[in-house]
Amino acid sequence: MSTTVDPTPSRPPVTGPAGPPKRRIPGWARGALWAVGAIAVLSTTSYLTGMNTLTSSSTAQTALRLALPILLAALGGLWAERSGVINIGLEGMMILGTWGAAWGAFYGGVWAGLLAAILFGGLGGLLHALATVTFNVNHIVSGVAINLLGLGVTKYLANLVFEPLSGNPRQSPPVPKFDTYSATVLSDWLGELEDAQRVGISDAAGLLRGLITQVSPLAMIALLLVPLSYLVLWRTRFGLRLRSCGENPVAAESLGVNVYLHKYVALAVSGGLAGMGGASLVLLPGGADYLENQTNGRGFIGLAAMIFGNWRPGGLLGGAALFGYSDGLQLAGGGEAVLALCYGAVLLLGVIVVVQLVRRRWLAAALALVGAGVLYYIYWANEELPDDLIPYTPHFVTIIVLAVAAQRLRPPRAIGARYRRGEGD
């Protein structure tokens, strides 16, 4: 895969002894700031355009459901790529997970389904490890092969196992789903706030309420896995070693780290997470049972979310939220809501223009201004967008966001590189 490193790092040249280190805002605070900013833009937009769907609790609820597979796939990508292995086979591992989830859940209940999904995805991850780590196969090639194999194996297994049960080789029989839990008291109170239709407060209440009503245990586990991944990868000895395999495997080797083993573990975890992502398509209420082609490229979107998040857990959470939200919005509100989102983007670009002007970056400001103009024209000239294109809102958002965000990213240094023990120089 290509590297997305900025060719000219915009770090100021260091002259003389450096002053006191600049206090940076900690990651969690920056995340909170982003969240507040996003809610502010959304509530302003919903106030100005009169589209309540933008911040309704049903949108937030759908968004959470749709963001889960993407979040889990992105976490899987994080584990793999931090250890230096590009994992474009996430899609195939997710597909394996969907089958495993349906099979396990049909015979042993939801938790067995989840376990089977993790196992199946993990097997895919181990296969990827065998090819890329042991045999030094090009990572993307192996990933593509795993996507092919995942599809082929699940189709074959579905034919073998599900067809006698459901009479349809493309579909599993109905499987049990996770129960959902709501924080009832809080949810009712937020519901009252949402109905009050006050600018700002009602919007925040609506979004929050969607996130705390009818939440499945799987969603809670998935959300907990984000801080857990951070703790393991950034706060333990094992995590440091794993990341050093992705930054400079030869140096890690010289310190006695077993690079092969760490990469194998990372890929097994990666596959397991992707398999869980597949399970979240099958085992959540409102989701379909196993269906052929139901992942529909979510593994790839997860990878994009991880790149958008700069190979960091907090960032990929933001990426998954963005894609989940735009997907949920187009499902809940259709073309009009997406148009309103365009309007929101115009507002956001307006802010960017001002910021760039203050920073005296004239070109960036001019480009943002042009973008805002185009988007506003689209909003102003159309009553609604063509129906055929609406379902692809998350994909458009991905491309636009990557185009705007890509230059400040730093992937792990040795990503995709060949490594064989004892052959470093």
Binding site: S2, V141, L148, V153, L389, I390, T398
Partner: protein, 364 residues
């Protein structure tokens, strides 16, 4: 220096390994592997299967070439899928609207297809060159978006025509068709087979006999060396991506101009992904890609016969996936074995067969 071993052995090993693995899968499901493979082989001589295989291989060959151009400079154009579908629908619409004399009409459609394929590759290329956005992600997104674009353009509100229950583009006049080569009972071979062969020859010529091809391969094998030699990496990325997209634009043409004459929502998809596998199988060599395309097409076409003996036809997909993975693994193994053999040979030659001393790096 490439010995015949490094060139021929790995694909054969891979196919053998895939056969073993799928035999295991077949045995698990309670079928006789020999019977299954025998049925698949016999199918080749039944009805029009042989010609159908070659026809499908024509499509796969073009797809493989499109991907291979990107591979030559380590550019992973996974977006061939989107590029060919976009080109197909645009070419079908333009071809249906045009009224030109026979040869000109066909040429015009082909030109439109080439340019629309390149156009759909333009955005990833620009983003890659100016913003450093991974072409893998952008092209994957564009692959999904193309579904929407095709649906939008084929919609009767825009350019589509409703025929029965099927929505498709307007039919292209016979003047735009590429005539087939009739082979009696065996079926009709696509005339575009010749087109694919020509593109393959052009690909070979470009890579091995032109300065551009040299620069392309150089920047693929060693970006730093190429940059030192005055090759602009950005320019090469841009050109390789656009060329890849242009060839991708031709993928749907054999079927569009040789059989269907309309592009419908139900048109077959996935040729772009097959192209990746075929290019890998053929090691980016024009002749290798042709063999890979034929093998792939054969597996696809003869898998139908498996249902007569109650074997799920998905076994063909498993064979295909295994072949891709094992072919790259096999190349690596053979390469390592060759390297080790080479080292032993050099070592023996330079010391007249004596074992190396410790000072020379030998064992203590």
């Amino acid at each position: 220096m490439r010995s015949w071993r490094t060139a021929v052995l790995p694909p054969l090993l891979a196919i053998a390994f895939a056969a073993v693995l799928s035999s295991v899968a077949l045995l698990i499901s309670g079928a006789d592997p020999l019977e299954a493979f025998g049925t698949m082989g016999a199918q080749l001589f039944k009805g029009t299967t042989a010609v159908d295989t070659v026809n499908l291989a024509t499509v796969y060959y073009l797809a493989g070439l499109a991907v291979a151009i990107g591979f030559q400079m380590n550019l992973f154009n996974i977006g061939v899928e989107g590029q060919y579908r976009f080109a197909a629908v645009v070419a079908a619409i333009v071809g249906g609207a045009l009224a030109l004399p026979p040869v000109l009409h066909t040429l015009a459609i082909l030109v439109v297809a080439v340019f629309s394929g390149a156009f759909y590759a333009l955005l990833p290329a620009i983003l890659k060159v100016t913003r450093g956005v991974s072409e893998v992600i952008t092209t994957i997104m564009l692959n999904s978006i193309v579904f929407g674009i095709v649906a939008f353009l084929i919609n009767p509100d825009q350019f589509g025509v409703l025929q029965g229950n099927n929505v498709s583009t307007k039919e292209i006049e016979p003047s735009g068709w590429i005539p087939g080569i009739p082979l009696g009972d065996a079926g009709t071979l696509f005339g575009a087979v010749l087109l694919a062969a020509a593109v393959g020859a052009a690909y070979w010529f470009m890579l091995n006999r032109t300065r551009f091809g040299f620069e392309l391969r150089a920047s693929g094998e060693s970006p730093t060396a190429a940059a030192a030699g005055g090759v602009s990496a950005k320019k090469m990325t841009m050109t390789a991506m656009l060329l890849s997209g242009a060839v991708a634009g031709l993928i749907a043409m054999p079927e569009l101009l040789g059989r269907d004459h309309v592009y419908a929502m139900t048109a077959t998809q996935g040729y772009g992904f097959t192209g990746i596998a075929v290019a890998l199988l053929g090691r980016n060599h024009p002749a290798g890609i042709a063999l890979g395309a034929l093998l792939w097409a054969f597996l696809d076409k003869s898998a139908v016969s498996l249902e007569q003996i109650q074997v799920p036809r998905e076994i063909a997909t498993i064979i295909q996936g295994t072949i891709v993975l094992s072919v790259v693994v096999a190349y690596e193994i053979v390469k390592r074995a060759d390297l080790a053999a080479e080292q032993r040979r050099v070592g023996r030659a330079s010391r007249n067969g004596r074992p190396a001393t410790v000072a020379e790096g030998g064992a203590v």
